[in-house]
Amino acid sequence: MNTYALAITGSGGAGVVTAGTLLLNAAARAGYYGWMLKSFGPQIRGGESSVMLYLSDAPIERVLDRFDLLLGLDWKGFERFADEVPLHDNAVVWHDSHAHPPELLQRCSLRALPLNDTARTFDKGRINMVATGALAAELGLPLDAVQDAVHKLLSRKGDAVVEAGQQQVAAGHALIETPSAPLRNWHRQTTPRWVAAGNPLTGLGLLRGGVRFVSAYPITPATDLLEWLAPRLPTQSGVLIQAEDELAAINMAIGASFTGTPAATATSGPGLALMTEGIGLAIASETPVTLINVNRGGPSTGIPTKSEQSDLETLLFAPHGDSPHIVVAPLGFSDLAPTAQWAAYLADRLQTVAMVASEQALAQASAIVEPVPDLGLQAERLRPAGKACRYAPTESGVSPMPLPALDDARYVADGLEHTECGVPSSFATDHRAQLEKRQRKLETFDYGARALAWEGPEDPDTVLIAIGSLWPTAVAVADERTTAGHPTAVLGPRLLMPLPAEQIDARLAQARQVWVLENNHSAQLYHYLRGHLNTPLHSFAQPGPLPIQAGEVLAALEETP
């Protein structure tokens, strides 16, 4: 697998993200794969920003340890990103001829280019368009692939804008006379692929899973999921409402679901905290809701624009009382849509809350991926044939749920403990019967092969356990170790609650060492698994906001005999 990593930084308005997006789309058109992260300063507008673009000739959904090329459209606020852009020893730093890279880059191999001068030869010329052309040339991306990407991105603004953009890209392309063009030697594939961001893919998964009602309150980094859904949900006869707060958002979803419409909400840590009481209501009243939590740095307001896996314990344990529910985690970027779809299906099948542990590092990343298949799973509610007691104790624990206007089996849904017919009750027998039923329906359900993923040799020496953005990193680590003679596999517990503990223990039985990798400070996944598994575990836990790199994990494993 060949890879190339480049970073582009600049102040707000310089067009860093546009440049990255164009290159990513051009790489897709040219038959390559790629992964792109965006990073912003805290300012609303005008702050510095950067994109990290990882290109490859094979699917890639993770960060690489070092960058090959860094381009500063300007250098305002670069220090803020310096930690995020570790450079190779032989990395090249590009800068505009009139700009001076900061001191800390002076020992790198610098290359000055007349980017601004070239842009100024055009009316309203833009340095980022010229730079896009120059970078495409340097990488070995065909000019027409970039021009097509410009057309797609700018076509809404009219032909004149597209043409001007294409001319600037071409002028930039011409600046590089002797490109190193590493991509030219790579294998190119003409199979169809998507260029997508994580939040929209998650939204697609919800729609595929049958969600037709979404209520939410804006919060970084979940907002762009809602913004993707806003114009699209109505095309599927669905409803999206911006609630007055997260308390309203979760309760609106519960109300919609009560009428039979599969409903979801999306939020991030602080919003999740506010939704907690509502989550308990949905669990107790057995009203299905799918909840997407896009994890950002916590606690409290934390680091809103950056990633972490630190909401895990909240997802698992936030609702008070005994509140069994479902928590699922995507295994990497491409798994966002299937996992959201699966969650929507599970919520309705099991009449409970299904939470998806998404992360900023996945949700706001963009990637070139194989088209993500539809699982064919859809929300489906068990309904009564005639009169029925709403919370009747069935063998599966799932009781038929009458729907207003459709079923002649009226009942009052309740967060109070209730009898099997929904009458409030504080009797021990009713409480125990309902608790057992709500637990039983989750434990007896057949979750199938999706519950647990395994990648690597069947009989490994070492097993890594990882979810979310760390899954592809763990797979890369396992590949490298296996190649080096230490057979290593990765286990991905997509189903975190209820945890298939016996199955996991069985898979881990032969391993000499098992490591739990996670992007938080307190080793939340490690402690959760330790509470349920018999297998001894080691922990590799690092908080955000920096992504964990394969090299760091490899080093930690090597230090342990």
Binding site: N25, A28, A149, K152, R193, W194, V195, P200, L201, L204, L207, R208, R212, F213, S215, P231, R232, P234, T235, Q236, S237, V239, L240, I241, A243, E244, D245, L247, A248, A249, N251, M252, A253, G255, A256, S257, F258, T259, G260, T261, A263, E277, G278, L281, S285, I368, P371, P402, P404, A405, L406, D408, R410, Y411, V412, A413, D414, G415, V423, P424
Partner: protein, 270 residues
């Protein structure tokens, strides 16, 4: 076939204290449902937490007894997902104006076609006698031994300014009038707010005197906000009737031409 109020009562016995004003509200509401002959299966009553919020269990329609303060969001979700549903929300002064105060404002503003009945007794009854947002400043209780020193909310004025298109006040001691108000509220297209003064005989027995003070509003319903506000502020707080009824836009979610789901995947083509 004529329907009767009792047809709409469930067989569950209320937890309320004997003499509680809420019995009269239940009677007035079921009378309205009977007058309107609403289909029981197509009617849902939403509530939060508190004495008033136990009401859905006592009516033979669909219902949802949710969280403290969150009845309106539940009802909002249900109405948006299922616009044909007759949606009624019952609440109390603590539930609607304190813990659920923000939802009260936003539900008025959205003006969805639903009816909110707030049983106001100016006290938290279920937790045994604490002051609420409508309690007088000098009312003394265990939690506020010297009174709250806070002026009470004027909920009807808040509803008017927040955008409710139907604002009325009734009195539990006059269930015949109350039922007419509730009926008019249910028939009104838009968000109907009915403030019901409903005495708490246990913690505010002095409220039984309301029956000597309550009197009908001496002005017709108006669709002029200024006049309605004037009428509200110029009459004492036990003046009952329809203060405001206007034909205001009901919020509707965005709509779009249906497309096959697969077509949305075109977003992801490079």
């Amino acid at each position: 076939m004529t329907a009767f109020a009792n047809d709409y009562k469930s067989d569950i016995h209320p937890v309320w204290c004997p003499g509680c004003g809420h019995f009269m509200v239940l009677r007035a509401l079921t009378q309205s449902l009977a007058w309107l002959e609403l289909d029981k299966n197509s009617t849902a009553i939403f509530s939060g937490i508190g004495c008033s919020s136990r009401l859905p269990a006592y009516v033979d329609t669909y219902g949802f007894h949710g969280l403290h303060g969150r009845a309106l969001p539940l009802a909002t979700g249900a109405k948006l997902a299922h616009p044909e549903l007759n949606v009624i929300v019952v609440s109390g002064d603590g539930d609607a104006y304190a813990i659920g105060g923000n939802h009260f404002l936003h539900a008025c503003r959205r003006n969805l076609d639903m009816t909110l009945i707030v049983m106001d007794n100016a006290v938290y009854g279920m937790t045994k006698g604490q002051p609420s947002p409508t309690t007088e400043p000098d009312w003394k209780s265990k939690l506020a031994p010297q009174g709250t020193h806070l002026r009470p909310f004027k909920p009807a004025a808040m509803a008017l300014s927040a955008g409710a298109s139907f604002v009325a006040r009734g009195f539990a001691g006059n269930p015949a009038e109350l039922s007419k108000l509730i009926t008019a509220g249910i028939q009104h297209r838009g968000f109907s707010f009915i403030e019901v003064l409903s005495p708490c005989v246990t913690f505010r027995p002095e409220e039984l005197n309301w029956r000597h003070e309550a009197e009908p509003l001496d002005a017709p319903p108006t669709d002029d906000l200024c006049t309605a506000m004037h009428n509200l502020l110029n009459h004492h707080h036990l003046t009952t009737g329809i203060y405001y009824q206007a034909d205001l836009p009901v919020w509707t979610p965005d709509t779009a031409e249906p497309v096959p789901l697969q077509q949305l995947e075109e977003d992801f083509q490079p």
